[in-house]
Amino acid sequence: MMQKGDSIGSTTVTLTRADLVRYAGASGDFNPIHWSESTARSVQLPGVIAHGMLTMGAAVQLVTDWCGDPGAVLDYQTRFSATVPVDEVAGATLEVSGKVAKIDDDAGTVRIDLTVTDPGHGDAKILTKAQAVVRLGH
């Protein structure tokens, strides 16, 4: 029996510069702060950073794995609270975990709250209020 507070597990997301270029191409977001070191530094960033939408898109895979149907994700939101610097050699490694935050039996939905941190940068909290509402059963 599922209960509020239950863990849905955890996973690691690794991002390299090539992953940022791939996401830029797939999404159409070619903002140079995601691929040009000099541009990123010129706007006071520590270097090239990941697209927030790439982090958001990758983090929800934990929810999809848990519920077994990507189309069951009815609502998914987040705030972007810290940037993810992606080192040219080492890339970036993010820790993603999730837990059951709310069970709505009448609606047949469960809200999963995700935690996404960057252990390489002081465990910075990358996403806040990262919440996915999932329809159960299909």
């Binding site: 797939a26 929800v60 895979q61 990507p70 209020k129």
Partner: protein, 149 residues
């Protein structure tokens, strides 16, 4: 130059129709490391009851950002894109987008709030099929940094 507070409530013309392609879904899924077979394998998608390959939960950002670009490009908006930071994003799906959908996105500025020199611009982009079926709402908030920041 600051963000024009009169933007609030303004609706921009819809995008040109966007046809969701199988290869685009596969490409986007690979880019966000989405490994569920319903994104890539037709039999797996149909096995879950979908008509075709299922787009990942954040896929519609591709179309939403095209629609939102109309706001930033509006000369009357006063948004300096080099000062823009993406603050938050939300997808509310009535159903997942699937390959073969022909979609349009239309953006409305829901709110413009200035706080301590920065301005938060929240847009809502309604994604519908060209036949008028509501598919998703994509909300996005841009933080436009003030000159001193």
């Amino acid at each position: 130059m600051g963000v024009n507070p009169d933007l609030q409530g303004r609706t921009y013309p819809p995008t040109e129709p966007y046809v969701v392609g199988r290869e685009k879904i596969r490409e986007f899924a690979a880019a966000v490391q989405a490994t569920h077979p319903a994104h890539t394998d037709l039999a797996a998608a149909r096995g879950l009851g979908y008509a075709d390959l299922v787009a990942p939960p954040t896929f519609l950002v591709t179309l939403a950002q095209r629609a939102e670009a109309a706001v930033v490009a509006d000369p009357d908006a006063g948004i300096d894109f080099s000062r823009v930071v993406h603050a938050d994003e939300r997808f509310t799906h009535r159903r997942p987008a699937v390959a073969g959908d022909e979609l349009i996105g239309a953006t409305t500025v829901e709110s413009v709030k200035t706080l301590g020199g920065h301005t938060m611009v929240t847009t809502a982009t309604e994604i519908t099929t060209t036949g008028g079926e509501a598919v998703s709402t994509v909300r996005s908030t841009l933080l436009v940094r003030g000159e001193e920041a």
